[in-house]
């Protein structure tokens, strides 16, 4: 049995050190070692998007990243989206538009939406659906999610004016 690997990284703006086995996914490291359980495990093979995190500013499925790969990188999880003052406008929009039912997919949708709106503040419905195609929801039928993203885009635009 080999030694665990010491990984130093930045998660949600804070320096984090952890020990993991090389085979462990970033998702396992986040949930089982670091204790950030907001990212969810759905399929564990990259299809469902419930484990979506930002990895150096790009969204990835954390089940398909090894924990050892984040050495020296920056990760943002769902726990890093809200501020101490309250929910992020995207989270408020998801709540008020009832864009969730069971909620397992929601952290992934919100992180993916954050990346979309950072990169394209006023996406079309087609662009929203294309961007979020790697996030599966089995409850809502997606329409409410798309409406929530459009609402969030409006809220963010209004907060900048």
């Amino acid at each position: 049995m080999n030694a665990k690997v010491h990984v130093q990284t930045k998660i949600n703006g804070e320096q984090v050190d952890f020990l993991c086995e090389p085979r462990q996914s970033l998702l396992e490291c986040l949930r089982d070692i670091i204790g950030l359980t907001g990212s969810k495990e759905g399929c564990n093979d990259g299809n469902c998007g419930a484990c979506t995190v930002l990895f150096d500013g790009r969204i990835v499925t954390s089940c398909l990243v090894l924990g050892v790969e984040v050495q020296g990188k920056e990760i943002t999880t769902i726990e890093g989206i809200a501020s101490p003052e309250g929910l992020h406008p995207i989270q408020e929009a998801f709540l008020e538009n009832a864009a969730l039912q069971c909620g397992i997919c929601t952290p992934g949708f919100i992180v993916a939406t954050k990346a979309l709106l950072d990169h394209n503040p006023n996406p079309s419905e087609y662009q929203i659906r294309f961007w979020l195609a790697n996030n599966l929801c089995r409850c809502t039928g997606y329409d409410k999610i798309v409406l929530a993203v459009q609402d969030a885009a409006g809220r963010l635009a209004a907060s900048k004016n």
Binding site: M1, N2, V5, E21, P22, R23, S25, N44, D45, G46, N47, G49, T52, F55, R58, I59, V60, T61, C63, L64, V65, L66, V68, E69, A112, A115, L116, R129, F130, W131, L132, A133, N134, N135
Partner: protein, 290 residues
Amino acid sequence: MKWVDYAQPSTLDDALNLLKKHGDKAGLLAGGTDLLVLLRANAKASDVIVDIKSVPELNQIKFDNNSGLTIGASVPCHEIYNDSNVKKYYPGIIDSASIIGGTQIQGRASLGGNLCNSAPSADAVPGMIAMGVTCKIAGSNGHREIPVEEFCLAPRKNVLKSDELLVSLNYPAPKPNTGARYIRFIPRNEMDIAVVGVGVYVELDNNKFKDVRISLASVAPKPIFVKEAGDAVIGKDVNEDSINIVAQKAKEAATPITDMRGTIEFRKHLCEVLTRRALITAIERAKETI
């Protein structure tokens, strides 16, 4: 997934030494979107994961007007389709890179990995074959370069020996009056495996075809180069008749199987329709370049 070691070589020589030492038991990690899935499903056994993203030659995009575009084997799709030279000179590459998996997958997955995974349905490969890409391969006995149509051999099988790796893909320098296009048919709008994929490259000369290259995916055990489809119209006028000849030849070259994604008849029909559509767009793109 059993215990594995992790190595992150920072030079090509170090990576090749690891490959020489571990051979088939080394799992090369670029984006991991195929490797980690295979390892977890016990469809592949690796003793050591060799993360090649720190090897400079594998992780860069280089462009030169004379020598063309070189894409390192581990460069992820999002870096490729956001690259200013790719956007300007190689829209045909974006056709593939922007539809492999979803946004999250494109944050990690590489075109080189798509080629090395060697699926018959690989979305990146028909475009490469059509555009005349060459593969730079490094091994303990030195480097070699081969045309991309010779790379894949069968489903998940390719020419790489156990001590070799794909370093980069070289796209020929952009030329005026040329255009490329990749399209596929899938039952939904995104995130699916191609029922048929078609890559097309065309060079025009005064409204005549100077060069036409057609490649098909998902209709044979590997992505295929259909040389005769393009050759049939060299020197001919660009019109509906000549476009239909190319589409018909592509259909005739396809040898698909019937599976859950489509029947033989449907796939052959798609080859004709998609080749025609892809060729029309490639011609439009060729007319836009000056």
